[in-house]
Structures are given as C-alpha cells and as structure tokens.
C-alpha cells in the first residue's frame, strides 16, 4: 500500500475554515490528506497542539489563518507567525524537517490557495516519508548491542 501522509490542519474560523468550505462548495479537487480542526484564530494554535499532533502520528501540521492585517482579532495571526518561525527552528533540533510544519494565509475567498497548499504539502510529505513518531522514534531500545 502506498504511503498517504496525514496532515493535521488548524484552520481559523474567520478566513481559512471558510476557504476550506469554499473549496468544498466550489468542488475543487484536492488531496484528501488534511484532517481539519477548526480554531477561532491561528493565534489560538499553541505549539503544544503541533507537537501533540506529531507525537500522536501526524506526518505534517498545517496552520492556516487570515492574511497579516486582516485578522479578526487584529493580530492573532502575527502571534501565529512568530510561533511558527520559532517552532520550525526548534522542530529541526528534534529531527522533524521544517517543511512538516507549514503556514498558509488563506482568506475566505481563497479556496484555491488552501487547496493548492494542501496538494503541495502532501507531495512534500510524500517525498519526506512517514514520520511515525511513536514507532519510528522508539523510546525503549537498549542499544549497547548496536554500538560496536
């Protein structure tokens, strides 16, 4: 069976979730790999949510919000952007490729922008291969045997 990446998507209520709705009602075909979680604002996405998604089996996490300057809560998306940059840097130290965490600004009218990003991210993740944190990063191997 070919590998299908799992992308956990945090979509903001005011722009990106509506973009996803629009993508649906416009019958845009895009990769079915995104699992959508609606949040009120991209600024609500704690780094903890992202790490939890990875630790429980996600291959990638997509954070989607309103364009800078258009946030329903004025600057929630700016907070998201700052976290995103720092989180990507930190994730690399854990061996999580930075492209597994992506951010897209998609307004309510940009169904295609969201769909395109899901498509491109799915391709990127397929190239990177599965992450499988629980089984792929095993916690309990005594490796003295491997050490010689």
């Amino acid at each position: 069976m070919s590998y299908e990446p799992v992308i956990v998507g945090f979509l903001c209520n005011w722009c990106s979730y509506r973009a996803a709705d629009l993508a649906g009602t416009s019958r845009i075909h895009y990769a079915p790999n995104l699992r959508v979680i609606r949040v009120m604002c991209s600024g609500r996405v704690e780094p903890q949510f992202v790490l939890k998604a990875f630790s429980e089996g996600a291959d990638g996490v997509l954070i989607a919000g309103c364009h800078p300057g258009e946030c329903h809560y004025v600057e929630g998306n700016l907070k998201a952007l700052r976290r995103f940059h720092l989180l990507r840097k930190m994730a690399e130290q854990f061996g999580i490729d930075k492209d597994r965490i992506q951010l897209v600004w998609a307004s309510a009218s940009e169904g295609t922008v969201l769909a395109d990003r899901v498509n491109s991210m799915t391709l990127t993740l397929k190239a990177l291969g599965p992450l499988r944190w629980q089984s792929g990063v095993p916690a309990e191997i005594p490796v003295t045997e491997e050490v010689h």
Binding site: E46, P47, Q48, V50, L51, K52, F54, S55, H67, P68, G69, E75, L78, K79, L81, R82, R83, H85, L86, L87, K89, M90, E92, Q93, F94, G95, I96, W105, W133, G136, V137, P138, A139, E140, I141, P142, V143, T144, E145, E146, V147, H148
Partner: protein
C-alpha cells in the same frame, strides 16, 4: 531502632546534588534521624542491594529517589525501590522529569559512546573498545548494565507517589515536606507535586515587569542586565513564565535568568512549548507597511538570535515532554550543516 519507620534515599542517573539538598536542612536532619531509621542510602552509608531485597515489601516507609533512568541498572533499582517502599517520592528534577541527563535524548547511546570512548580528543582508543553488556574472560562472563538510548523519568518507569521538583530541591521546601511527613498530617493526593508553588515563577520574582518588546535575544554572557528590571524584557531568555514557583526566584535575584529547573507549572504538559509560546509573544513585530515577505524576514531575524531553542526550553524536561527525544541521527546532521 527497629520500631522506627524506615527511610531510604537512592540515586540513579544523578549528580549527588539532591543528597546535599537534603542535608541542606541543617540541624533538622537530626529530627529526620530521630524519626526514621535510614536503611539504605548509598551516598552516605554502606548498604547492599541484597539488604533491601531482604526487607518485606513496602517495608521502607519513605524512599526519596533521585536521578533519572539511564541504564538497565537504574531501571532495576527503580522497580526494587518501588516494591519495597510504601511511599516512593521522585526527589529532584532528574527523577521528576529527566533534567540534565535527559538532554542526552537529543542523541543516541551510540553518539554518547562515540563521544566518550572513541572520537574524544583526549582519548586514545586504537582498538575501539566500548563497554558491552557481556564480556567473556577466562574466569567467566562479565556483565554491565545496558545503556539505554533514551533517558526516562522515574514516573515513566514505575508508579510514583509524589514528585518534588528542583535541581536540586530548595532546602526550605524540603524542610516543609519533611516536617509535614513527620507531623503525621494528612498527605496530599497521590501523584501531587509537593515542595513547590502552584503558580509561575514570575509571581514570586521581585523584578519589575513592564511591556516586553524584544528585537534580539541575548545569552547570559553577552550583556550585563539592568538591576531590578525583568530579565526577559532585557532580552535574556528567562524561563520564569513557563516554570513552577517554589524557589523564591533565586536565579533572577542574582542576575541570572531562570533555567526552568522546577518544571512546568500545574496543568502544563509540555514546558518547552509553553516557553516557546511565551518567547514568541514578546518578539517585537508590527504589520505597518510591510509585505508578507518583509514580516517573515523580520521575524526570522529575531528568531536567529535564539541559539538553541530546544536545549534552552527543554533543559530540564525533555524526557517528560510530548516528543521525549529527538529522532536518532539528528545531532550529526546539525553538525554537518
């Protein structure tokens, strides 16, 4: 002696600072000696594993276990002490959440052996000898405990009754716990973190806090911080916002940023990601007249002044965090980059 409750203090992967912190209660240690019969305390008195094995199960009233679980021996002793102790307390940050030994979870056992026995500049090891679990010699087979890839906390290994955070736990807090146990007062619910506060460290920090707008972050040796002003405001990464209170903010009071040894505050699972959140919140950025690319670049510049986010934010809590360790091979990749 025989009728006194029995006390044990054991160390696994630890530095010995926890034992000193218990002695830091000064003359009150005599009360402890009066109230308890210390049966097993390898740091200060002779005692053998077989003596502990000979005790009845739950025969030790209180066991203060410090140190993380690094080797098969640590794990075996954790199981033994659990079986023999009525109350097993994870004493200090290593037992509670992995602490400094836990930082080795950014590497693998192979990386460590390589650094310690093979590639180290001061090491000459032409035959490439590294410790193995079994070695055959004419007299028979010699064994060593297995060295794990991943450091675990005590709570990830056995059932633990209480957790005392701190690296090491502050003596005043230890004293409060000891006195509570000695007084026979009702103990808090099982699984509680004891000997610590219930809010973030900033609450007990005497430094003045105002608006934080950071354009670049500094490491402690790069600036001399202003007196009495919040260290985070001055660009030092102070772990206060994501750390449990209880130490009276000793480090910030002495011009050093908090490094997070009391672990996450109550109801926080992952100290590092909370700290990441806090740091992201204090960066200075504004939209005005900027394109999305300019914004990205501006933020990337601030982020680039944070040298080692994972090691800083998870200095004490890596094994206890959501990810628990890095993917094997990550460290080498970073080096060659």
């Amino acid at each position: 002696m025989a009728d006194k409750p029995k006390l044990a203090m054991y160390w696994a992967a630890s530095c010995g600072g926890c034992e000193i912190s218990l002695l830091g209660i000064h003359e009150k240690i005599l009360d402890v000696a009066n109230a308890f019969d210390p049966v097993f305390w390898p740091c200060v008195m002779d005692g053998k594993k077989k003596d502990v094995e000979a005790l009845p199960d739950k025969g030790i009233a209180l066991c203060l276990f410090n140190g993380a679980i690094r080797t098969a021996e640590n794990e075996e002793m954790a199981h033994l002490m659990r079986r023999k102790s009525a109350l097993l307390v994870a004493y200090g940050s290593c037992a509670y959440e992995g602490c400094i030994p836990g930082l080795s979870n950014f590497y693998t056992a192979k990386d460590h052996f390589n650094a310690a026995y093979l590639s180290n500049d001061s090491t000459v090891n032409t035959k490439g000898v590294v410790p193995v679990t079994e070695t055959n010699v004419p007299e028979g087979t010699l064994t060593l405990p297995a060295f794990y890839n991943t450091v675990k906390s005590l709570g990830q290994t056995v059932d633990v009754d209480y957790f005392i955070p701190g690296c090491p736990p502050e003596s005043a807090q230890v004293l409060a716990v000891v006195e509570a146990i000695l007084s026979g007062a009702e103990l808090p619910p099982k699984g509680s973190v004891i000997g610590a506060g219930t809010v973030a460290l900033c609450e007990e920090c005497p430094r003045k806090r105002d608006v934080k707008r950071i354009k670049r972050f500094y490491r402690p040796h790069e600036i001399i911080p202003e007196k009495d002003v919040c260290l985070l405001e001055q660009g030092l990464i102070c772990m206060g916002p994501a750390t449990r209170s209880g130490c009276t903010a000793l480090c910030p009071q002495n011009n050093m940023p908090c490094i997070g040894c009391y672990g996450p505050p109550p109801n926080v699972t992952d100290q590092g990601s909370k700290m990441l959140s806090a740091i992201a919140s204090v960066m200075e950025t504004a939209f005005e007249g900027k394109s999305e690319e300019q914004l990205d670049q501006e933020i990337a510049e601030v982020v680039s002044t944070i040298a080692d986010p994972a090691g800083t934010f998870y200095k004490f809590s890596l094994p206890h965090s959501l990810l628990r360790r890095a993917r094997p091979g990550t460290a080498q990749k970073e080096k060659t980059r």
